[in-house]
Symmetry: C2
Subunit: 206 residues, 2 copies
DNA sequence: TAGATTGTTAATCGATTAACAATC
DNA sequence: TAGATTGTTAATCGATTAACAATC
């Protein structure tokens, strides 16, 4: 029934969700592919093509129902489910993520692990020594492990969380992780983003 | 002389740099496209195609000189130049970025701005009220403004930094910024990355 | 009904991969 | 020289855009 969804489309899903949520909060009830396209700076054709690949939630001659579209996007990305997260690495980035509130209700950081835990206080979130990782994962449902260690520690930490049974990794460390096929890794690299900016800056000068 | 460089290639440049730097630090002097391809999980053909689009730094029958390749990648991305950065928004993310040391010697955070500066202490980095932004930019060379405010403030802050003469923006706020054509914006969205992970997790279950 | 807008096919465009001559 | 490996063209693959019938 469902058509194949290309990686290119998947990367656009969060942006669609952001725009549609915005329209929903403004009280809009319907929207056309043309209007979405203008808000996102893409073509209307692409918007329709993308939505169609999930089954097509629109109505010809009318457009898309904002509420329905929002809820479909939530279903597709599983945003209505609870995701229990742990963070490995309590450095600048790890602590910032632990305190960040912008991911929505479905994503909760339950614990933060590091080799040194002294003096780290993160409110309701448990701060535990990395040695207790496996024990913690056995006793608690962990959906996502966030790796925010230095590069040098990332490979070992990835092996440890996989060993502890975690199936999904959100990797902030600037290195490719080698994991079994049933483990999902999503990489996010701030350096890479900054260097791309630097490239465009540099090109303009040269 | 230089061929057109596609966006797809540009996004791979930082990863090439990472791999080549790693090889350099290990003391390797030469490397083949095949070896790089294996480290990055791409095809050797793509590696050669990509490098060739910048002019081709290799030698037939031999491979690529690691030191030369590293220095060419640095030139292309401007990593050997100094980039003076300011951060607008001293929340979790802003403070984490201010303290982060992983971007290399060419990227220095000089000041952090926010509407409230009381009690924020960031070592050598100045913490200033947002009202002093324009004055600061007039007196100091600012190459990159990092926007790490909440979404609601981002549009106004973007307008302010543009007004203050900053030409390059690194945007962490989850919203599209509307800027003049001569201003470069690079977006990085943690939510989007997390939602993509969530999509893949969800798809496996469904 | 007439106008609007989707869903979807076909055409175009761009990116990746394969292949191999050039050459170190 | 023989083997290795690039640089680059051609072929394939995938993603985007255009077009329009279907239909609300």
């Amino acid at each position: 029934m469902e058509k194949t969804v290309s990686p290119a489309i998947i990367k656009r899903l969060p942006r669609y969700y952001r725009v549609v949520t915005h329209l929903f909060n403004e009280g809009q009830t319907k929207v056309s592919s043309k209007a979405i396209a203008e808000l996102m700076d893409v073509t209307a054709s692409q918007v329709r093509q993308d939505f169609c690949s999930f089954g097509g939630y629109g109505q010809q001659g009318y457009g898309y129902d904002v509420k329905k579209l929002k809820s479909e996007l939530e279903n597709i990305m599983g945003l209505n489910k609870m995701h229990n997260m742990i963070i490995i690495g309590a450095g600048n980035i790890g602590r910032a993520l632990a305190g960040y509130k912008g991911f929505g209700d479905g994503f909760k950081v339950r614990a933060v692990f590091d080799v040194v835990t002294d003096g780290i206080e993160l409110g309701e979130i448990e701060v535990l020594n990395i040695s207790r990782l496996k024990e913690y994962c056995a006793e608690n449902k962990v959906d996502i492990a966030v790796i925010s260690t230095p590069r040098s520690a990332a490979a070992k930490v990835a092996a440890d969380v996989v060993d502890a049974g975690v199936k999904n990794i959100w990797n902030f460390a600037p290195t490719e992780l080698d994991v079994p096929g049933d483990v999902i890794v999503e990489n996010i690299s701030m350096s890479e983003s900054l260097y791309v900016l630097s490239y465009y800056m540099n090109r303009q000068e040269g």
